[in-house]
């Protein structure tokens, strides 16, 4: 009786349904374990050795499946647009977080470190783990840290907007350039030289695009977070 009272019907049905579903999933998956087959990834690995960069994931993300990334950028762009649309207020509400001394000094100390780490992750994305997404977000979070700690500071909207416009337009233009030069959208028209494999300047458009992606992601992320921060204060 006591169980019945504390657990609502919804909880019980939710638990039962999800448990049954998962048990059936597990049952099916365990009965049919995947075998080792030739997957598209293997083909891409071979392809990468002829025209890619050291970090294969970067090649895949930026070049082989670059169109997905363009779409992903578009998702982020639309989301930040939506967040802006929802939370934008013309009233001037500055950030009123009462930051203490600890936070202030720590942010001063951490800011350059995170920025440099972010930029490294962004620029070396084609050689080591990381890339535009992570780097962009890291840079954005560094700026965010500064924003939280220093209440007088605010990144002007125009700067973010200019950065994001520049990055977005140049990404599509690079894609269109490929279309123009060799009839293939997002084609790596800078003809990568395999001899440069593993160097900073290698892989044709790949590092360039990833940096553009980083700028775009960073600015969108900064925009979203700034809007959320601004909004969450004028309660």
């Amino acid at each position: 009786m006591s169980i019945k009272r504390s657990l609502s019907t919804l909880t019980l049905s939710g638990f039962t349904l999800s448990a049954l579903l998962i048990l059936s999933f597990i049952n099916i998956l365990l009965q049919n374990v995947a075998t080792n087959i030739e997957r598209a990834g293997d083909g891409l690995l071979k392809l990468n050795s002829s025209e890619g960069v050291a970090n294969v994931v970067t090649t895949v993300v930026v070049y082989f499946r670059g169109f997905d990334t363009l779409g992903e950028i578009a998702v982020l762009f639309i989301a930040s647009l939506g967040v802006g649309l929802m939370l934008e207020r013309n009233t001037e509400c500055t950030i009123k977080v009462q930051s203490n001394f600890m936070l202030q000094s720590a942010s001063k100390l951490l800011f350059p470190i995170i920025i440099i780490f972010g930029l490294y992750v962004m620029i070396y994305g084609h050689l080591s783990p990381g890339g535009g997404f992570q780097g962009g977000v890291l840079v954005a979070s560094a700026v965010l840290l500064l924003l939280i700690s220093n209440k007088d500071l605010e990144v002007p909207h125009a700067v973010i907007s200019a950065l994001e416009t520049l990055a977005g337009v140049s990404y599509v233009l690079i894609g269109l350039m490929g279309l123009l030069l060799s009839d293939v959208f997002l084609f790596n028209f800078l003809s990568p030289n395999i001899a440069d494999f593993g160097l900073l300047l290698s892989g044709g458009i790949i590092p360039i695009v990833y940096i553009i992606v980083g700028i775009k992601v960073g600015s969108e992320m900064g925009f979203i977070v700034q809007n959320l921060l601004k909004r969450s204060d004028d309660v």
Binding site: G41, L44, S49, S50, A54, V56, V57, D68
Partner: protein, 124 residues
């Protein structure tokens, strides 16, 4: 006795059961929780479970992360496509949550509700 856990088959089973249980936790949250942030969180947990299942099912014990040292070295790497896909999916999911949260904030401003089950003003 720990050798038993190192065979690929066992790891595969662990991954399947583990990620599906995580999926179950998320699904359970989705079906039972009311607060909108917890709904988003449950969805995020479900997505994480799917990502773990994907990466976990396709990783090979003897392979290494797909970062090549030299140009013609193609063997012994993990499949890079799942990594790229999951990368994309994570960012997309985050964007959707940011948007959803901003909807929720604005809706709360207007109606003072965070419980998704009470969000039914339009019962015509």
């Amino acid at each position: 006795m720990f050798e038993f856990f190192n065979s690929p088959e066992v790891i595969n089973i662990i991954v399947i059961i583990g990620s599906m249980l995580l999926f179950f936790v998320g699904l359970f949250g989705l079906l039972t929780q009311k607060h909108i942030i917890k709904i988003f969180m449950s969805i995020a947990i479900m997505e994480t479970a799917v990502y773990l299942f994907f990466i976990g099912s396709l990783f090979k014990l003897d392979a290494i992360a797909p970062i090549m040292k030299v140009a013609d070295d193609t063997s012994k790497f993990n499949d890079p496509i799942p990594h790229a896909m999951i990368l994309t999916a994570i960012v997309i999911a985050m964007a959707v949550f940011a948007l959803g949260v901003s909807f929720a904030i604005e809706y709360y401003k207007l109606s003072g509700k965070t419980n998704i089950d009470t969000m039914n003003e339009m019962r015509h």
